[in-house]
Symmetry: D2
Subunit: 338 residues, 4 copies
Amino acid sequence: MIVIMDSGADEEEIQEVEKRIRSFGYGIHRSTGENSTILGAIGSPREDVKEALEAMSSVERVILVSPSFMLVSREFKKEKTAFKVGGVEIGGGKVVLVAGPCAVEGRESYLQVAEAVKKGGADILRGGAYKPRTSPYSFQGLEEEGLKIMAEARDITGLPIITEVLDQHSVEIVARYADIIQVGARNMQNFKLLTELGQLNKPVLIKRGMSATIEEWLMAAEYLLSSGNQRVILCERGIRTFETTYTRNTLDISAVPIVKELSHLPVFVDPSHGTGKWKWVPSMSLAAVAAGADGLLVEVHTAPKEALCDGPQSLIPEKFSQMISSLRGVAQTVGRTL
Amino acid sequence: MIVIMDSGADEEEIQEVEKRIRSFGYGIHRSTGENSTILGAIGSPREDVKEALEAMSSVERVILVSPSFMLVSREFKKEKTAFKVGGVEIGGGKVVLVAGPCAVEGRESYLQVAEAVKKGGADILRGGAYKPRTSPYSFQGLEEEGLKIMAEARDITGLPIITEVLDQHSVEIVARYADIIQVGARNMQNFKLLTELGQLNKPVLIKRGMSATIEEWLMAAEYLLSSGNQRVILCERGIRTFETTYTRNTLDISAVPIVKELSHLPVFVDPSHGTGKWKWVPSMSLAAVAAGADGLLVEVHTAPKEALCDGPQSLIPEKFSQMISSLRGVAQTVGRTL
Amino acid sequence: MIVIMDSGADEEEIQEVEKRIRSFGYGIHRSTGENSTILGAIGSPREDVKEALEAMSSVERVILVSPSFMLVSREFKKEKTAFKVGGVEIGGGKVVLVAGPCAVEGRESYLQVAEAVKKGGADILRGGAYKPRTSPYSFQGLEEEGLKIMAEARDITGLPIITEVLDQHSVEIVARYADIIQVGARNMQNFKLLTELGQLNKPVLIKRGMSATIEEWLMAAEYLLSSGNQRVILCERGIRTFETTYTRNTLDISAVPIVKELSHLPVFVDPSHGTGKWKWVPSMSLAAVAAGADGLLVEVHTAPKEALCDGPQSLIPEKFSQMISSLRGVAQTVGRTL
Amino acid sequence: MIVIMDSGADEEEIQEVEKRIRSFGYGIHRSTGENSTILGAIGSPREDVKEALEAMSSVERVILVSPSFMLVSREFKKEKTAFKVGGVEIGGGKVVLVAGPCAVEGRESYLQVAEAVKKGGADILRGGAYKPRTSPYSFQGLEEEGLKIMAEARDITGLPIITEVLDQHSVEIVARYADIIQVGARNMQNFKLLTELGQLNKPVLIKRGMSATIEEWLMAAEYLLSSGNQRVILCERGIRTFETTYTRNTLDISAVPIVKELSHLPVFVDPSHGTGKWKWVPSMSLAAVAAGADGLLVEVHTAPKEALCDGPQSLIPEKFSQMISSLRGVAQTVGRTL
């Protein structure tokens, strides 16, 4: 950490700050510049120490030189994290396709989509049984009934299933059915939920918060890893920007190469939520794979017009199958399979 | 709701959309313009119906004319909501002062601040026992021990206490001690938590999410009211903007008059989190009261330099007392007391 | 346009608004809903009429149903705009590569880069002679001397040149040398400059403003087209988001398919400014082409460490050449050449 | 400046960077930490040097410790800048009221507003003769005719006038009529225009860009001061945020105390553009004065419903006069007059 002293700080004040820095167990390098003195605090960066020092009136600013995440970083673990769920390898050479409707709305319709996306080339089934909704008056999901339908679809298709957990009370029940547990964007900083999921023996996919920085997203994953769970997938799903007329969110494709350099964890992209419109899903899927994504989460619905949730962003199975062949070409170009 | 048809939509497609609109129980007005047809759907706006219609390829866009919140709105309830907590009236003529440290760090230091802010003019005591921290390695709060210390401070000072609940598992224990329960910015869209708090018989203060729109914030409060809790306080605490060098957040003072027009609920302002620096707390407190705030949440710490959390934004008790007299002048000018 | 009346508006007020709407030459459809009356104003949307109506106290809101741009839209012109500059077709089947250093810093170094990028596969040379700098104390460019060097590079390589115009006073001189004139992000809404460039007989590339919406960007292009210039290229160069630690801007790849649907104009992407770091340029170039970009603007410098401007985002010629072959694979997959 | 070396950098690379730092005339302090070496570059911060160093692959990041503005800073000039325009002191004890319509639309209507606001208590007249409009099809202002009308209003009322200059070609003509020249938000980084205005002998009011940081805004003012103009006013006018339903912009009241600490220049606030709705102008005016603003820019129009520009945000003269007395109370409380 770098402690920048106020330009008016005198020797006594500087020594007071140095004493405080040492009290936290850090070594010190003092550097006297033209206008201000800078103290290098030698040791691991800590957010709370930064705050404690910034509370001193002779301190102008404290800068955390290195990021405060550790276990998720490439410095901590050089080789890419890869693991298997069912027979599917995540973080390996193949780009993983996760597909299915936004919400599980009924048994028949779900089984129908499940078979269609399997045929189309999906590796994992998605579907929501518990739905986070801005309005208390919107459809909130089929809950356990939805989980049972997904489990049945897994039995029929042989594909593993991923679904979102909304709150602590349903962690146990969701874990009983799901192969991968999803943490939604609105829960990215629900730290107690993350800690609980970190203690489960289940892979977790954590979506990026709507206006989270990359560091905040990786810190959220750090909660999972530091609680004991190493099988974590990061998923970019669009960030909030000033553009709201033509897209629901702005899919941040650039997060893919950045996060893959900073972290050893696999990075997925959700172009359906990321754009909010099915017609942009194919081109953004291509872009994501071109940028190095390890997997895609795509919404597919047999009858989007009748969907109870997020219909506008769902592909029909035919469109899903069609885009696979172009995806294959791009995957190959960047040294991946699909 | 207004349904804007695609400019290329033909009569058959228009009728198909009209049929779908009617299936949700809405009446219809068709308006044929130069370039496109517009269908007015007569009935209460629903987010899920909007999505269902937008999934139809002949529909270009659906606009929710009226906001989707109801119980929190002035249309629903004209007169301002006011209620008492302990002897303190919230939403009445007096601007309510909530003061105390960010986190409860120990018994003695907390009791000391409590007495100091009471003497300085505070109406309610604040303090955090459970702290949401970006990093799993930062101080997470004293938990129940902290709640006990706050309860003791209440006994000594006679002031009611407010503290944050972080997760569902601690709702019961926090409710046992607190007079008002606080929902933090990161939990503003933790819908399950909101539903539980809505069923409690305790006032709730809900902070605005870091990049929430005003409508999203009011929709979150709607979860509380629609679950049965009418004693809700809205609290502006700064939004995320591109300015990060000089402030931690940008305190959105303009939210005060806007929300007070849209809703009957009392609106508080937290200038400490809102700016992140104690030196800007007095001027922003004055601005908040000038803009019509019903209350202020101010961080006060007897030794900010030794605080384990958010020291940089805490006033010392002397500064707190000093600012009260200017606040009184502004309150008077806008027809309030303090 | 749709005029939403205040829920309390009475018949007299509604008629007053209708009269005002008619005074602007619009037809009217009235639609009476449960809570409010909606007036459809039949005619072309106009921003100033919207404002005039919103000034009436009985009007709650006015919505411009269709976007206010016209000449740039696909509705106005269905077929993609394509034109030739030198021998290079812009907006055709081939993805156009524009390469060169950020600023022209000297004759020898520029000619060296020019020959290197030509050999590497560039179609057009870029370089800045007038540089917009946040600080008045930074290097501001070689001005006319820089233009002369670029012209010499054109003579030697046979490649057309593109360079930025900063202000009205230098329009004439820049136009004398350049084959394509670039408008930078900070000048996107310099409307007087746009009007002048619209009257020139030179193609113009207009970069998206740092926090511009897609509609604002297209409206800026509308200034060029409505002043008479049809040879316009749109260029996405990264928008400002909350992520500032790891990238300078967030490259909005999703803007490519969106703008290509809304407009007939060719869309380029600048991954160098868009990310601010050379190491992310190749993957974001691949993503841009996968998403359908018609061209790329890439910064290449033979000695980035000695660059006077934007060195961190410049590729060395070897890296530039290396990425071309992967780009070719992606281009082919999406039905383009390169 | 602080140069953070890559954690993998070896001694040779560190020395190469040190050599480069010295070549720019800086002294060096080396500080060897646990994970990385940090070099303090002793001397004035320079944006271009930062970029040059960051282009070196062994450098991870360069941090400009002190801001890059100088002449506008309190370090450079401790006492507040105050100057007179006509008989009006700017930056003194009195809060300055600038009032008038958004655009000059005609002689009679302008003179009428001018007299009304004078009577209401205005110190300076505002009005736009050249209007920046997002759409080329909107009313662009009366140009010189508008300036003449303003000059006539000055003769009649005795109040100085302020008006916006849009482009370089009209600098001379605007300067001939105006007492203060305004630079709009969209031109905040039109550096060539700023340089020209810096060479004029006229006070300049510079509005904050729509998504500008405080440092960028002060750097823009630095262009004016470094070109020779010391009579500069900073004006906050609302920044772009995610809230667009209820306000046009989000007025950043917190910018007032921050900028007043960083700079000696007077700070004005424009609550009319800042909110976009006249009904929020009075409360935000009160908040601005409470926060320490040196002046207000308020839009007043005798017939806002017929305004050709920004009617929704204009007060009628009666409302303007009414708010003055509350403003006076707040001004007094914070030690100012009005």
